[in-house]
């Protein structure tokens, strides 16, 4: 039997000990003596969140397919265990072997959201790895980051030896081979990093230097040694159909956020919403074939025993054979009491039909994400959803028996005005009115229930809004108040509920998203003062962060309240994602004119992603009859 890193008494005195014991079905065990490389894969949040992440499952499976690598998992110990580990000097360990992380060859940390940054320091700290990469020797694993936040790695650059820019399926093998060679040749750690920096997509922050202008903006960002590339190219898995996919994902004992089989039907999005980072980062859109999806679905269900399956993608309605996959899942699995969990779909006859097949109409709700209240704003953000389409969809659904609608909006978008905010209330009102007009009294299931949720917009790198300014927490709350007042003034206000988010978290997220290397000091300071699990409301403390900015001598407003000029050098400019800065600037200008850009299937807009020669860029388009630029 495996020996656990924590004693029985300790495990029995903390919340959910199952977070720390490993041993789940499909977890991979190898002989540590017989592998060349030990890789600890980390999601810097609590187990239930980390275990729900598909990307880690993909890499875990892919690494473990290699005989010479043993990949294990590690998550952030929750605050109760964190405290005890510090008190008793218990080193952080991996779930499978229960061995200390410090003894691993690699520590890979996935960066899914900015608010996990202090948790990265927790992971390093508890592992006994120096926080600053510059202080590490071969006694420490190579700390490598990846995932969406790695597209602006600068705020956390000093904590990492390497970043992997792009999709994990592509150059990891090269990196692992290089590592093996370097260890055999007994080269220095620095030399290994230097060679790694020459692998496409690998960024080694150690070999770059930033200089600043007097006004605080970046003057230059350059390699400090010969042979280090000045540009890092995003890596793309061009053939999704044959890309590795975990057919036997690990099955947690405890209930995790995503307790089901997840089928990634496509990567990328054809839409080009101007606020959406994922939509740009994962260009071009690439689909998995229906055949391979069917195969994955049944194997994964067989191997896990999960009772639910869901589809994952940015915009599932755009998958070219959505009907094919959905019908297959219903026909094949519904009879076996497996829940089909539908993604949010464009509301039309097809989606209403499948929704009524897989869910209880009376209990479920329709979801629309207009993102902005007025048509002008929806054009600004290039969200091709019109009021007409929403109202028609809602009417059709109301006739079908639905009476719950969820609406998602953003507030604090660039170019947004008071009237646009009020239009959020007006749109909700129109939907409510549609219900009372369309459904005769005797057929109504009580009132309709419209839930309006707004989140505050955070401009992200590699989007047309990367030049935009943000607002102060007070401003944001004012925006929410406007919406709230307006909703209260509506005739059907009793049918409308309104939720909005905290505003100060938004501001910090904004700093991290577009920050530069100077932010690292603030993160360290806040961590020292106790910041941890910042994404968790109960752990969040804005005052502590403000204090950290002050102590570190960093001006928060510089990162948030400033609209950027066309020629400003961004901290992430050295990363090339295919989509060009030129295209993004053009889109920013079009946003100012409230001009929409067609989606990739309607017409190629020459964003630059065609250089990857894959997916939608290679499709024949009826309108043009040719390839993308």
């Amino acid at each position: 039997m495996r020996k656990l890193a924590l004693s029985d008494e300790l495990l029995l005195s903390i919340e959910k000990p199952a977070r720390y014991i490993g041993g789940e079905v499909n977890a991979v065990y190898k002989d540590a003596q017989k592998v060349a490389v030990r890789f600890a894969m980390c999601f810097p949040d609590v187990y239930e969140i980390g275990m729900s992440h598909l990307g880690i499952q993909i890499l875990y499976d892919m690494f473990n397919q290699r005989e010479d690598v043993w990949c294990e998992r590690v998550y952030s110990p929750w605050v109760d265990l964190d405290r005890v580990m510090r008190e008793r000097h218990i080193p952080l360990f991996a779930l499978e072997s229960q061995d200390p992380i410090r003894d691993f060859d690699f520590l890979g940390i996935t960066l899914q959201y900015e608010m996990c940054y202090t948790n990265i320091l927790q992971i390093l700290d508890l592992s006994g790895i120096p926080l600053e990469a510059s202080e590490r020797d071969w006694g420490c694993p190579i700390v490598i980051g990846g995932g969406p936040c790695a597209y602006n790695p600068e705020p956390i650059a000093e904590f990492f030896d390497l970043f992997y820019i792009g999709e994990g399926e592509t150059v990891y093998d090269d990196l692992l081979e290089l590592y093996k060679t370097c260890r055999k040749e007994a080269v220095s750690r620095r030399e290994f990093l230097r060679r790694a920096a020459q692998i496409p997509g690998i960024y080694a922050p150690l070999f770059y230097e930033t200089t600043y202008r007097e006004d605080g903006t970046i003057a230059s960002f350059t390699p400090t040694e010969d042979g280090i590339p000045s540009v890092i190219e995003k890596q793309v898995q061009s053939d999704m159909t044959n890309a590795p996919y975990p057919e036997a994902p690990v099955v947690p004992y405890i209930k995790v956020t995503q307790d089901r089989v997840v089928l990634e039907i496509q990567r990328g999005c054809i839409r080009g919403c101007r606020f959406c980072q994922a939509g740009m980062l994962y260009r071009p859109t690439r689909e998995r074939s229906l055949e391979v999806l069917k195969q994955h679905a049944s194997r994964m269900l067989e191997n896990t025993g999960h009772e639910e399956i869901s589809l994952s993608s940015l915009s599932s309605s755009d998958y070219s054979d959505l009907a094919g996959i959905v019908t297959y899942l219903i026909d094949e699995f519904q009879g076996r009491n497996i829940n089909i969990c539908l993604p949010s779909l464009r509301i039309d006859a097809f989606s209403l039909d499948v929704m009524s097949k897989v869910q209880d109409v009376k209990k479920s709700s329709l979801t629309f994400a207009p993102e902005a209240g007025s048509q002008r704003m929806r054009d600004v953000i290039n969200k091709g959803l019109t009021e007409e389409v929403i109202l028609e969809g809602a009417a059709e659904a109301f006739h079908g028996g639905w009476n719950k609608v969820k609406l998602y909006f953003m507030l604090g978008l660039p170019l947004e005005e008071e009237a646009d905010r009020k239009d959020i209330a007006h749109l909700a009102e129109k939907i409510a009115a549609t219900y009372y007009e369309e459904v005769p009294k005797d057929q109504r299931q009580g009132r309709c229930q419209i839930t309006v949720s707004t989140s505050f917009f955070v401009p992200k790198p590699f989007t047309p809004f990367q030049w935009a300014r943000m607002y102060t927490p007070g401003d944001y709350l004012g925006f929410a108040k406007t919406v709230n007042h307006e909703i209260k003034a509506m005739k059907n206000q009793k049918s409308i509920r309104y939720n909005w988010h905290q505003a100060d978290e938004t501001v910090l997220e904004g700093v991290f998203a577009r920050g530069d290397r100077r932010i690292g000091a603030v993160i360290k300071e806040a961590y020292r003062q106790g910041a941890l699990f910042d994404a968790w409301t109960e752990q969040w403390n804005y005052e502590r962060w403000l204090q950290a900015f002050q102590t570190a001598g960093v001006d928060l407003d510089f990162y948030t309240l400033r609209e950027r000029a066309e020629d400003e050098i961004f901290p992430w400019d050295f990363i090339h994602i295919g989509v060009t800065k030129n295209f993004l600037w053009r889109e920013w200008q079009k946003a100012h004119r409230a001009e929409v850009t067609p989606n990739c299937r309607q017409q190629c807009s020459g964003c630059g992603a065609a250089r990857y020669k894959s997916g939608v860029c290679m499709e024949q388009r009826a309108a043009q009859g040719g390839e993308a630029e």
Partner: protein, 237 residues
């Protein structure tokens, strides 16, 4: 066909609570390809009920659940499949067909349980704590103070204590279990230690459930049989 499944829970599985053990078996049944029956209605769930939840931290060789299968399977085949689809720390040991009637449900039948209790390494009292156990058991009544929501209340636990003896540092208990009366071994042990002027530290006990029993005695006379003994092995077709 109604089936009673017996399993052991040990090793790291002791940290998995009752609800998660249920979830574990729901998924294990699917992986093993057991054709289990579902309830009717809008949200069908597997027909599966456990005899008696086991607390977190305890191990057991005597866990039971009753299920209903649509396609019969031999005991040998079912046990093999479930263990193959299972995780370390849970071993299925019996698969027995049981009568269809409602009164035969494990949950209703449970009347007693066997436990073993040891001190975790380093947690045993320094003084001799074993010598007076038979005395303790020989008492006519054992009053203990029970803390409830409404305050404290004295109860006599002796009627629910069927057996208690010690052998080489392990204390054996046979205790009333189930919905009518349920006595926990740690409560008995605490009461005994108190009579010796001792008190156990938190997490001092290592408790193992050995077996669950039904009472098939008549006229108020207790006759305990293991829950598994009430079913029949399913032979290979």
């Amino acid at each position: 066909m109604k089936v009673r499944v017996k399993f052991s829970k040990y090793g790291i599985m002791k940290f998995i609570g009752h609800l998660d053990v249920m979830r574990y078996f729901q998924k294990a049944m699917r992986r093993a390809g057991i054709d289990i029956a579902f309830t009717e209605g809008m949200s069908p769930h597997m027909i599966m009920s456990f005899a008696q939840p086991l607390g977190v931290g305890l191990t057991s060789d005597g866990e039971y659940m009753d299920i209903e299968v649509r396609t019969p399977m031999s005991s040998e085949e079912a046990i093999r499949r479930l263990n193959q689809a299972g995780a370390e720390g849970i071993t299925v040991t019996e698969w027995k067909q049981i009568p269809e009637d409602k009164g035969s449900k494990a949950m209703t039948l449970v009347a007693a349980a066997d436990y073993e209790l040891r001190f975790r390494k380093g947690f045993a009292p320094k003084l001799d704590w074993q010598s007076n156990i038979s005395h303790f058991f020989a008492q006519q009544s054992i009053p203990v103070i029970k803390k409830t929501k409404k305050g404290e209340r004295e109860v006599d636990i002796r009627p629910f204590l069927y057996e208690m003896y010690v052998n080489a540092g392990t204390v054996y208990f046979k205790l009333a279990a189930g919905s009518e009366a349920n006595l926990k071994p740690e409560l008995v042990m605490d009461a005994y230690l108190a009579t010796q002027g001792l008190e156990a530290q938190p997490f001092a006990y290592e408790i193992h459930r050995r077996e669950l029993y039904a009472d098939i005695g008549k006229d108020g006379k207790r006759k305990l049989v293991a829950l598994g003994a009430l079913g029949e092995d399913v032979p290979c077709a």
